[in-house]
């Protein structure tokens, strides 16, 4: 009989993280350049905010988030780049594996495809969380943004709900890649609309009211608002029920629907014989 036996899901996931960390570490200068890029983002927005300093106080919509454009923008960038990369991580990990031929090799193993996709995206999810954390820490430590670090537990709840909501959309977009190989319309649409409507670089309150209503259907809107209110105003979860509810609805409805869609897409690809094609 085969030597294979059951290993825990955590062992399996660890192996994916280990694999991707080793691959990333093999590009030795990458970490340095990425840190430099984060610093460069901070500096750019620091000077942009410096330019706006004279008019900041007259921007009423900014007051809700503490009144400083720099801190507003940095948290917006940290949260939205996390959501953006997480969304893409599922589909891009499948696409890369299809292109390199490793997808077929993984599919030929006993591991279920759901675990393969989750494992392949996990490193990016963790890495981007750290990257966003570093960006915010840099803003606080180097550029003096006052952060309510006593509210980190509340931030962790919002972060957890963001991960599950993003997971749903990411798995959905992975289904597109399995079926059509490229041209995942969902990620592009969600990502584009989030940058436009969710208030990444400007408060969403400056948008027309009906557009703000549309923005409620994007997870990024709730994550951005909640993250800023927690970190910049020290808000607790009790005052963020709208955001918590919005993200919870995305998670509860989105995850099962996306899993069903993904299973259907995989089955179609097996019938078409195109599972590993690119």
């Amino acid at each position: 009989m085969s030597r294979a036996r059951s290993i825990s899901w955590l062992e399996l996931m660890w192996e994916f993280v280990r694999r991707d960390a080793k691959i990333q570490l093999s590009y030795r200068l990458q970490a340095f350049f990425q840190l430099a890029a984060l610093f460069s983002i901070c500096v750019t927005f620091f000077f942009l905010a410096h330019m706006l300093r004279g008019v900041e106080s007259s921007i009423g919509t900014l007051e809700r988030y503490g009144g400083s454009y720099f801190s507003f923008a940095i948290i917006g960038l940290a949260a939205s780049s996390y959501i953006d990369s997480s969304l893409r991580s599922f589909s891009s990990s499948i696409r890369t594996a299809q292109m390199t031929g490793t997808f077929e090799a993984m599919l030929a193993t006993r591991t279920r495809i759901g675990s393969l996709v989750a494992g392949s995206a996990l490193y990016t999810l963790l890495y981007m969380a750290v990257r966003s954390g570093v960006l915010i820490a840099m803003a606080g430590l180097v550029f003096g943004v006052p952060l309510h670090l006593d509210r980190l537990p509340a931030l962790a709840v919002i972060f957890g709900l963001t991960v599950t909501a993003t997971l749903a959309l990411g798995i959905f977009s992975a289904g597109f890649i399995v079926l059509f190989k490229q041209g995942d319309p969902l990620t592009a649409a969600i990502s584009g609309l989030s940058w436009l409507l969710s208030g990444v670089l400007y408060p969403k309150e400056i948008l027309p009211l009906w557009v703000q209503r549309v923005a409620e259907f994007l997870p990024a809107t709730h994550t951005l608002e909640a993250s800023r209110l927690i970190l910049l105003r020290g808000a607790g979860l009790e005052s963020l029920s709208g955001a918590v509810f919005g993200l919870a609805v995305f998670s509860v409805l989105g995850v099962p629907i996306s899993l069903l869609w993904f299973a259907w897409a995989v089955n179609r690809a097996r019938v078409a014989g195109s599972l590993a094609q690119y």
């Binding site: 085969s2 192996e15 080793k22 591991t111 089955n267």
Partner: protein
């Protein structure tokens, strides 16, 4: 549970792929294109401790058959069983018993070492990391990869990569092993050594069921307990190589006769027999 079952049992297996519309075919989207029939009612039974060679020219359906058995492709009709388990209904359970040596030797992580690659795929096969590493070392010495284990996969030669693909197929020590053109990038000495490993170690000593797809006649002759000759998605004949020699020869000649005629038309002055 699987004690009396055949290692692999395929009955009436049919696979039709949808044809893709090209060029002017898009002008008549209502017209259905005839499907591409890759497998047409294939029957096959392989017992434990048996080595069956799937022999056939390119496009005969060998790889599609292996992909259906390994659950990568879903059949249109018929069924495939591995140790009594229907591969369509019990995919992960069936795959647990199958080692698939892909013809695609680039399907590894080029920036990881050979050992890390085998460890990763070993864990995907359900081995704890430490057991996967131990098995990787065991296979390294069997396949002459010991010296290469610490090297990045990307630095290997084509033949070395092919040996890694073989090691990966054997990593979980499965009872059923599918080889798809496994020796195509190996030098004659290593091909011969691999054939000995398959015959003496996997089949005779470990009683595994092996299905070996190839278009190499000599390989089929020296390796097979039984040859299954495939043509146009069908099993054209089945038996020992000696019994089928005439049919095998004509199958391969007919398959290339069209190309031969075209070659003579294009280059009438060239001597085509080398």
């Amino acid at each position: 549970m699987n004690g009396g079952a055949l290692a692999v049992e395929v009955a009436g297996l049919t696979k039709r792929f949808s044809a893709k519309r090209r060029g002017r075919q898009w002008l008549t989207p209502w017209r259905r294109l005839p499907p591409i029939e890759a497998l047409r009612g294939v029957d096959l039974a392989v017992d434990k401790g048996e080595l069956v060679v799937l022999l056939g020219p390119n496009g005969a359906g060998k790889t599609t058959l292996l992909k259906v058995i390994s659950t990568l492709v879903r059949p249109s009709a018929g069924r495939a069983m591995v140790l009594g388990r229907d591969v369509t209904r019990f995919g992960p359970e069936a795959r647990r018993n199958i080692g698939y040596v892909l013809a695609e030797e680039r399907s590894f992580y080029w920036r990881l070492s050979c050992r890390d690659n085998l460890r990763f795929f070993g864990v995907l096969e359900g081995l704890p990391a430490r057991a996967a590493l131990a098995r990787a070392d065991e296979l390294g010495s069997l396949l002459g990869l010991t010296e290469l284990m610490g090297r990045d996969f990307g630095s290997l030669s084509t033949g070395q990569r092919q040996r890694m693909a073989i090691a990966r197929g054997l990593i979980s020590d499965p009872p059923v092993i599918l080889f798809d053109e496994a020796t195509r990038s190996l030098d004659p000495g290593r091909s011969e050594r691999l054939r000995r490993i398959i015959r003496k170690v996997l089949v005779e000593r470990e009683n595994k069921a092996v299905i070996f797809a190839t278009h190499d006649l000599e390989e089929a002759r020296v390796l097979a307990d039984r040859v299954v000759l495939m043509r146009d998605g069908r099993v054209a004949a089945e038996g020992s190589y000696a019994d089928l020699e005439a049919q095998i020869g004509s199958a391969f000649r007919e398959e290339s006769s069209g190309e031969e005629a075209e070659f003579r038309r294009l280059f009438p002055d060239l001597e085509v027999s080398l």
